[in-house]
């Protein structure tokens, strides 16, 4: 006799009485039975101080510029006061860096330089959680990203370059590569600590000294890094950190006392810097904007391609130079991919960056938000179709819902200009040649993605793409051992890997 199967609902009716019975009811349509409760990371972990100062010649002191408030973009509340650098601080810092370069840093055996970098890497690991929470507060990115990507990657970058310090003769740069001297470095707000690591680690490993200006809206983790360097007993003047605005950055890169400029930021400013450096003997590397094509072929592993598209444009709220901001999808599967993408976007959680379940955090500043809005509006006026999943946008703070545009052509502004926000433009293609042509049809050339199960296609398309980083069946993968940098107006020079040493030595 077949046992009659009693439905769950009937069972609940039979055995349960009051609503607090543990038996779960059948799932009514339209409800969210598994609502994730708030899971906030503790803000106190950041050990936020009321004020932060410039770091010059091994000491913290008040800068001679303005005192500004660094605010939390998630709620527009001030986090701390930051004493910014003035032009006189730039002078002092460069002088201190020069003294350190000509004195203890040059005299030091290379292996010892490396050991300082190992110490710094270790201290970043020890203070990882504090740095992650601070980064999230200052930048607006989800704690999940600062904790799982930014901070570990920063530590790894120091570890990697620590090991090169006493092995430079094997790097393919000649038997005894010499450092350049004092490096002036200006970094952006999208990965504040990581960008500081990308700049400082190779410079120090090769024997240079550094004056670094973090972005004006995100100075805090760079200043804690300065503290870590002091704790590591790094000789004074080897690294100097000057929080400040564009004018300080300009004073730094145009100063005659530096031998090398390293800049990550917008293409517009990169061009200004190149003009300014003309006629000087300063070495220059630039890591600028992008408008990367993420190319999905009809034989792509579809579920993972959808993940790759999402990571490509919504990681860090799309505020990434190498973001996959153009989806080039083969026409035969375009509808299917867009449907799957839209469905996937409904599971993205936008909200408090300190909540461990948040996927999409805040935009870094009011200015950036205004730019994103302006370009997105152009998308609509130029005739593309706009779609966003339903999102609960917090009242305060700078927020932009993930957005997809379909019906986009190469001529649209949203296909040509870098939005630097969570906005994806979808275009189609029919053949690999057409995909390559569209992907390359841009002044930028930082990165690209290829999705196909066919190896010969990956290698062929990768060879034809004019982009410095090509990801196949993945996206947004970074490793200190892998060189990163652009073609064309996305900049020149490479960071990471053996090649990342070249920018800092006299070849």
């Amino acid at each position: 006799m077949t046992r009659q199967r009693i439905s769950r609902g009937q069972a609940a009716a039979q055995t349960a009485g009051p609503a607090e019975s543990g038996a779960p009811a059948a799932v009514p349509a339209g409800t969210d039975p598994f609502a994730y409760a708030p899971a906030p990371e503790s803000r106190a972990t950041a050990r936020l101080r009321p004020s932060y100062q410039v770091f010059v010649d091994g000491r913290f002191r008040d800068g001679r510029g303005e005192s500004i408030k660094s605010i939390n973009p998630a709620d527009e509340e001030p986090l701390a006061e930051v004493s910014e650098a003035g032009p006189a601080d730039v002078e002092d810092a460069i002088a201190a860096a020069r003294r350190a370069f000509e004195g203890p840093w040059s005299a030091m055996p290379a292996a010892q330089r490396g050991k300082y970098l190992f110490r710094i890497a270790r201290y970043i690991q020890e203070r990882a959680r504090e740095l992650a929470v601070l980064e999230t507060l200052d930048n607006g990115k989800p704690i999940k990203e600062s904790r799982d990507f930014d901070i570990p990657a920063a530590a790894a970058h120091f570890f990697y370059y620590a090991g090169w310090a006493d092995k430079l003769g094997y790097a393919g740069l000649g038997p005894d590569p010499r450092p350049l001297g004092v490096a002036g470095q200006v970094i952006p707000w999208n990965f504040p600590l990581l960008m500081a690591a990308w700049k400082i680690a190779p410079a120090l490993a090769t024997g240079n000294t550094v004056v670094l200006k973090p972005a004006e809206t995100t100075p805090l983790t760079a200043l804690v890094l300065a503290e870590i360097m002091a704790d590591a007993d790094l000789p004074p003047g080897v690294v100097n950190i000057l929080p400040g605005g564009p004018s300080i950055g300009e004073a730094l890169v145009s100063h005659r006392g530096i031998d090398k400029i390293a800049f990550t930021g917008s293409t517009e400013v990169g061009k200004l810097i190149q003009r300014g450096a003309a006629g000087t003997s300063k070495r220059l590397t630039l890591e600028l904007g992008g408008k990367a094509a993420n190319i999905v072929f009809d034989d792509a592993p579809l579920d993972q391609a959808v993940e790759g598209i999402v990571t490509g444009i919504f990681f860090n709220q799309g505020q990434v130079c190498c973001a996959g901001s153009r989806l080039l999808v083969q026409e035969s599967i375009a509808d299917e991919v867009v449907s799957a993408l839209q469905r996937r976007l409904t599971t993205l959680r936008l909200g408090d960056p300190l909540d461990k379940n948040t996927d999409v955090g805040a935009i870094n500043s009011a200015a950036q938000l205004a730019k994103i809005r302006q370009l997105t509006e152009s998308g609509e006026t130029e005739g593309a179709t706009r779609w966003s999943p339903p999102c609960r946008i917090p009242r305060r703070g700078y927020w932009f819902a993930p957005t997809i545009f379909t019906g986009v052509s190469q001529a649209h502004r949203i296909a040509r200009e870098e939005i630097f926000g969570p906005v994806l433009s979808v275009l189609t293609f029919r053949t690999p040649a057409e995909a390559v042509e569209k992907a390359n049809n841009t002044a930028y050339g930082l990165s690209a993605g290829i999705w196909t199960e066919k190896g010969s296609r990956i290698l062929s398309v990768a060879a034809q793409l004019r982009a410095g980083v090509v990801w196949a069946n993945t996206f947004n993968r970074f490793d200190p051992a892998a060189p990163f940098g652009g073609y064309k107006e996305s900049g020149y020079g490479r960071e990471g890997g053996r090649h990342g040493l070249e920018a800092y030595v006299d070849v």
């Binding site: 046992r3 543990g22 993972q304 449907s339």
Partner: protein, 344 residues
């Protein structure tokens, strides 16, 4: 080889109705599966082309997505819900050579009342035993809604004649099982004899109706996620009510990337046909943490429609105790120890 094949019969009424669309601006194509039984029987080559034509699975990408889902932090009310729901989704399992009627009776007692100190703890979904102990389980569970699932078809290896396997099923059903967990012929699958696998599932489904059928893929023997995807589709096309990862007798058993692929397959199948079929993860799931992670995966990959014992199960034994321990911790705030939950 059977030569008379019927189209899969209508599913028992206890099965879930078509899924409600979830914010789905794309189309949900409703229609019949692309393969009828007759087609499958006739043409292994075509069935193979269909299965091999399914999109590939990039392993690194699948592992990365699974790892990303595992970072969800489920606390307080959400955790409480997840624990009680997990309990209600368990097929409480004992599949040992040394099983006796007393052991099975003890298992059934726990199935109905997992935690005597908290009588409102939900019952598990079912118990899972060998066919010759089904009668004991039916007797012990009389009057309760807990189901009796029986493994069958020469579990766990599946290496026996079809006639033997069907007799195994018949015995279990006759003894009162209302769920059958069959194993596929992995040898036939890996050798590309898909029609043979399809027909076996069909035959078992016919034999066990109206009991519902779970099809064990034994993913640990399939070798790649592409195979897992194909085997999932094959089992769903042949009429399986549930696709199940493992027998629990080999390692690896259920893993996050495998679960991801199977949930995606069930979801895609539902989109294509309008029929929601279930997924059961079995083998190696011992902790609340793992169970909660899998519920997150169900929620975000298949959708909340699947968050019911009618469409999702854990095949487990020691998991129940860990869920109870975690429940105690949630309620009392103190960590508990194994002395405080009953053994069988």
């Amino acid at each position: 080889m059977t030569d008379v094949l019927t189209v899969p019969s209508a599913r028992p009424q206890s099965q879930q109705s078509p899924p409600s669309p979830q914010n789905s601006p794309g189309e949900t194509r409703i229609g019949t599966p692309p393969w009828s039984a007759a087609d499958a029987a006739r043409d292994n080559a075509s069935l193979r082309r269909f299965l091999h034509g399914l999109p590939g699975v990039d392993q690194a990408g699948a592992e990365s997505r699974a790892a990303g889902l595992a970072t969800r932090s489920i606390k307080t009310t959400a955790k409480a819900w997840a624990i009680t729901t997990s309990i209600s989704m368990i097929d409480l399992t004992s599949l040992e050579g040394a099983d006796t009627p007393a052991r099975v009776r003890s298992l059934c007692a726990r199935a109905m009342r997992p935690d005597l100190s908290r009588p409102d703890t939900p019952m598990v979904a079912a118990v899972c035993v060998y066919p010759d102990l089904v009668a004991t389980a039916v007797d012990a569970l009389r009057g309760s809604p807990v189901g009796v699932a029986s493994v069958a078809t020469a579990f766990p290896s599946g290496r026996a004649s079809l006639a033997t396997k069907l007799a195994d099923v018949r015995d279990a059903v006759a003894a009162g099982a209302n769920e059958i967990d069959m194993v596929i012929d992995r040898g036939a699958f890996l050798a590309g004899r898909y029609t043979e696998v399809f027909n076996e599932i069909l035959a078992v489904k016919t034999e066990c109706s109206p009991a519902h059928l779970k099809v064990i893929l034994e993913t640990g023997e399939l070798g790649t996620l592409d195979h897992v995807r194909r085997a999932s589709w094959l089992a769903l096309l042949a009429g399986g009510d549930f696709i199940k990862t493992s027998t629990g007798k080999i390692s690896p058993a259920a893993t996050p990337p495998v679960a991801l692929v199977m949930l995606q397959a069930a979801k895609n199948f539902a989109e294509m046909t309008g029929q929601a079929r279930g997924v059961k993860l079995a083998g190696g799931i011992r902790t609340t943490k793992e169970a909660v992670r899998y519920l997150v995966m169900v929620n975000e990959v298949a959708g909340s429609t699947w968050l019911t014992p009618d469409l999702f199960r854990f095949g487990a034994s020691s998991l129940l105790n860990d869920l109870l321990l975690q429940w105690h911790k949630l309620k009392t705030g103190a960590y508990d120890g194994p002395d405080y939950v009953a053994v069988d």
